[in-house]
């Protein structure tokens, strides 16, 4: 059994003292930012990327991955206790979770979220391990034409499944692709769009964009709203353990949530947020058992299903990244950046050229999930205390760490001016109702797309039909077209809008 061998190699790597420590730091930080509303994994990972320069690549990736799935755990705590989503993927958990807390059942709600997440995380990791090898085989058959088509599919998928206006999201991708082209062209050596600024010939750092748009932009938007009166159910968390009745209700919900989350995570644009939405919608469609609390009034299934789904989705969204080198969402786009910083070219060759890294990362996720369940359930009191920290202490710290982070990437103040500019742009995006996540995806994929387009057309001597005459490429493009058509169908369109308005 290859899988067993590979996993044992992975666990060998993940169980070293150093990697355990960094995995733990990642999970701890992930829970921390998950609990705190107003700061998400994208900004945090961007902030910490510079700090990982000094680490060995495997430790760095284990830590950054931990932040992402750790945030899925932490987000539910805030959702349940404060009626605020700590993380965007916990938006739906708020609905039933908070109602449970109001009825004095915060304990079982937290336990349902934690146990569901743990189960989903384990399954998601297994799926990741099982699917990685066969998918990598497929990826090796890819030529430049296929890669280009795959990226088109990935980018289209990313916006189709995202919320908000489709047109604007596609425009944001294209804008991201363009920004990704700033700097020296690798083929001709021409510095493009650099305005004779020496710092710009190296291109815009994606850390700079991520921090400016996601960090500063969000903070400014948060501050422009009056602070909510937070009602925190701190003293009332007693009796963590769900009753037998609760278990009967939540187990099928956890199973369904895990299945949906695992599937949606693999899809481009999927990941945690969409998985949680879909899982909640499906739970609502199933029939209530006699005597069960209706949805919206504190049904435990309304907590268990989306929380399982978002964690499963967070786990399986690593599949396209690790096997194809294509990031399915903004967090994975940052992971691409993290890998490139450490001179690892993301893609199918990672598994063969860096097997310790590949399997070590996967094994670390299982260990990380185990750490998280301990961090989140018995130690829940610590996180509740954290919720009493006012935002006015947090945002100066976030701005400061962003500024230190961008400076330290190149030890250059130019990046600080640039991150300020992107902060203004990020706020502008929020005001204009355009989502910034597709921009980051486009930004990461820009140079890769250009390179593959160039190669594909060079091989075909300028013949654009190469993308449809090669079978694999044609089917990828066809899939992208089908996705677009399906979303634009009037019936689906109204459903899609409905689904995202429901929050």
């Amino acid at each position: 059994m290859d899988l067993i061998n590979n996993l044992s190699l992975g666990f060998g790597v993940a169980f070293t003292f150093q990697n355990l420590i960094y995995g733990f730091i990642g999970c701890l930080l992930g829970t921390l930012i998950g609990v705190l509303p107003g700061i998400g994994p994208v900004a945090t990972i961007a902030m910490l990327l510079p700090a990982t320069y000094a680490l060995p690549p495997i430790a760095a990736l284990i830590m950054l991955a931990g932040i992402y799935y750790g945030a899925q755990y932490g987000g539910s705590t805030t959702a349940i206790l404060v009626n605020l989503p700590g993380e965007s993927s916990s938006v739906v958990t708020v609905i039933d979770g908070y109602q449970m807390a109001r009825k004095g059942r915060a304990g079982p709600a937290l336990a349902a979220a934690g146990l569901g997440s743990f189960f989903a995380g384990c399954v998601g990791t297994l799926i990741l391990a099982a699917f990685a090898a066969p998918l990598t085989e497929v990826a090796f058959k890819f030529g430049p034409a296929e890669y280009f088509s795959l990226m088109i599919l990935g980018l289209i998928g990313a916006v189709v499944l995202a919320s908000g206006s489709l047109l604007k999201a596609v425009a944001m991708i294209v804008l991201g692709l363009l920004l990704g082209l700033v700097g020296t062209d690798v083929n001709s050596g021409v510095a493009r769009f650099s305005f004779d600024i020496p710092e710009l010939t190296d291109g815009i750092g994606f850390i700079t964009i991520a921090m400016g748009v996601f960090g500063y932009g969000e903070i400014i938007a948060n501050l422009s709203q009056p602070e909510d009166k937070r009602e925190v159910f701190t003293g009332k968390v007693t009796g963590l353990f769900p009753t037998q009745e609760d278990f009967k209700n939540m187990i099928p919900a956890v199973l369904r949530g895990t299945a949906i989350g695992s599937m949606l995570g693999i899809l481009p644009g999927g990941g945690a947020l969409l998985a949680a939405f879909a899982a909640y919608t499906i739970e609502k469609k199933t029939k209530l058992r006699p005597g069960e609390v209706p949805f919206g009034q504190g049904n435990i299934r309304g907590v268990a299903a989306p929380e399982s789904a978002n964690n499963a989705g967070a786990q399986t969204s690593f599949i396209p990244l690790l096997t194809l080198g294509i990031p399915p969402n903004a967090v994975m786009a940052l992971m691409v950046g993290a890998m490139t910083i450490h001179n690892i070219q993301p893609g199918p060759q990672v598994m063969t050229s860096n097997p310790e890294l590949f399997w070590g990362l996967i094994a670390s996720m299982w260990i990380g999930n185990a750490m998280l369940i301990i961090l989140n359930l018995p130690l829940i009191g610590m996180w509740i205390k954290l919720l009493t920290v006012p935002y006015r202490w947090l945002f100066p710290a976030i701005v400061l760490f962003c500024a230190i982070g961008v400076y330290s990437t190149n030890n250059n103040t130019f990046d600080i001016w640039l991150v300020g500019a992107f902060g203004v742009i990020g706020y502008l995006f929020i005001k204009l109702g355009v989502e910034p996540a597709p921009l980051l995806l486009g930004f990461i994929l820009g140079p890769m797309m250009e390179e593959n387009l160039r190669r594909a057309l060079l091989l075909s001597r300028g013949d654009w039909t190469v993308f449809v005459t090669r079978g694999l490429s044609a089917s990828l493009l066809a899939a992208a077209a089908v996705l677009l058509i399906v979303v634009l169908l009037p019936s689906v369109k109204s459903k899609r809008e409905e689904a995202f308005v429901e929050e």
Binding site: P50, A51, A54, S165, L167, K168, V170, A171, V174, L175, L177, L178, L181, D185, N187, S188, V190, R192, F193, Y216, I219, I220, A221, L223, S224, P226, E227, Y391, R392, W393, F395, P396, A397, V399, L400, C402, A403, I404, Y407, S408, T413, I416, G420, G423, V424, Y427, L428, K431, L432, G433, V434, E450, L453, R454, L457, L458, S460, R461, G462, D463
Partner: protein
């Protein structure tokens, strides 16, 4: 003609202008042909697509009715100003501005300056609290970035440390 969606109108305008600007900029590089793409080929293509998408969004904003006109709303000038100013101040204090001969003040001074300015972005500003926060952040940053991660930062003003 009336704008039916303010948000779409301005975002469409933004995409069109930015797309056109990138496209125009791309023509100053060698565009080449499909088989031999020059550095201007892909940006020109993308710029045109972006301008086109922007134009469609713009057109829709003038035609498709929305219930409330989707106003952009008031700008939060105060947080916008203080957050960005705090960020820029960090760069100035940390690295100095050689062009006007402003000396580098180092990390600690930069942390105090940034924390104070950024804190003013909030609704409540308490000076004492902000100073305490600055001290805590300075200690944390020194421990994490200088001692633990050994990042190369000027810590103290250049005229003291030399």
């Amino acid at each position: 003609m009336k704008i039916k969606s303010q948000k779409d109108f301005f975002s469409g305008l933004m995409f069109t202008v930015v797309g056109a600007a990138f496209g125009y900029g791309a023509t100053s590089y060698n565009v080449g042909t499909g088989a031999r793409m020059g550095p201007g080929y892909f940006p020109l293509l993308l710029g045109a697509i972006l301008a086109l998408l922007g134009a469609i969004i713009l057109f829709k904003s003038l035609v498709v009715e929305t219930p409330d006109g989707e106003p952009v709303g008031a700008w939060a000038w105060r947080p916008l100003f203080y957050i960005i100013a705090g960020n820029l101040l960090f760069g100035i204090l940390l690295g100095g501005l050689p062009s006007i001969g402003f000396p580098a003040m180092g990390l600690i001074v930069a942390i105090f300056g940034t924390t104070i300015v950024v804190s003013m972005a909030g609704d409540e500003f308490k000076f004492k609290e902000t100073i305490v926060l600055s001290i805590i952040l300075s200690l944390m940053s020194y421990a994490a970035f200088i001692m633990l991660l050994k990042l190369q930062f000027p810590v103290w003003p250049s005229f003291i440390s030399g």
